[in-house]
């Protein structure tokens, strides 16, 4: 039987563009990921069960709940995008815990995730993000599903540095990387991936 190896969405696109003085982008490869979509009328129950399973307080809102083992992102009414570590049983465990309350769909090979940081990150994000990312308005508790350069993205903030994370369908990774190079390249962009 073939031995399959996880390959991140940004793999093979090249490691480094510039100095990294302005913006540093680091691919987060190998994460387990799943969408959780509550069945009709079960959003509150699914949020409670999801939170109980992961030991987090999960709300049915565009908010982030995080622990060392998992990140839960509210992406729509009764819908969450959940990331785990490299535990191969993570998604199956979610599906078992949420049986009857929600559909759990494995996205581990579907989402490409970048962590973005750097002194000039805010001005680079301004070129593509049409929502208010002022620190007073968008905090590490918030999640936004929006578009950057016509690419649907899930955007959240990891810390106040600020470090942002961007998840998008992996087939768009090349297009997103193109936007990132155009928007952050002049400031000094470094990209780190496999």
């Amino acid at each position: 039987m073939a031995d399959l190896v996880h390959r991140g969405g940004y793999a093979g696109l090249g490691r480094r563009v510039g100095s990294g003085d302005g913006v540093v982008a680091v691919e987060q490869a190998g994460l387990a990921a799943a969408t959780v979509i509550a069945r009709r009328g079960k959003a509150e129950a699914a949020a409670a069960r999801l939170g109980g399973h992961l030991g987090l307080a999960v709300a049915d809102a565009a908010k982030r709940a995080v622990s060392p083992a998992a990140t839960v992102l509210g992406t729509g009414p009764g819908t969450w995008l959940v990331f785990g570590g490299e535990d191969p049983g993570f998604v199956a465990g979610l599906a078992a815990a949420l049986a009857g309350l929600a559909a759990v769909i494995d996205q581990s090979d579907g989402q490409a995730v970048l962590h973005l940081s750097g002194a000039r990150l805010p001005e680079a994000l301004e070129k593509g993000v049409r929502i208010d990312l002022d620190p007073a308005r968008f905090t590490p508790e918030d999640v936004a599903v929006t578009s950057i350069a016509h690419i649907g993205v899930t955007l959240w903030k990891i810390d106040a540095a600020p470090t942002f994370a961007v998840a998008l369908p992996r087939s768009y990774a090349g297009s997103f990387r193109h936007w990132l190079e155009a928007s952050a390249g002049p400031a000094g962009l470094a990209v780190v991936s496999d």
Partner: protein
């Protein structure tokens, strides 16, 4: 134009897809005249009206948005899900 999505917050209208008037309700099967009215006839008010918008680049929910057709002032939005039950 900015639409205040109840889940996502205020968002640019480019994130949304427009359907149209939120008022028509599908009639019972078998009533051809009522079905023709439902499918074809629309009011064209000059002023506030409720419309269905889909937040395609956001939370992927259908919204009922109240918009003034004269100046595009948006004065409210709510999730369309469950509106039959609450109407």
């Amino acid at each position: 134009m900015r639409i205040p999505c109840p889940y996502c917050g205020p968002r640019d209208s480019s994130e949304f897809a427009y359907l149209g008037d939120a008022a028509p309700r599908r009639p019972a099967d078998g009533d051809a005249a009522a079905m023709a009215t439902y499918v074809y006839l629309r009011d064209n008010p000059a002023g506030p009206m409720e419309e269905l918008w889909y937040h395609a680049y956001g939370c992927r929910a259908w919204l009922v948005v109240r918009r003034d057709t004269r100046d595009h002032a948006v004065t409210g939005a709510r999730l369309a899900a469950g509106r039959e039950a609450s109407a």
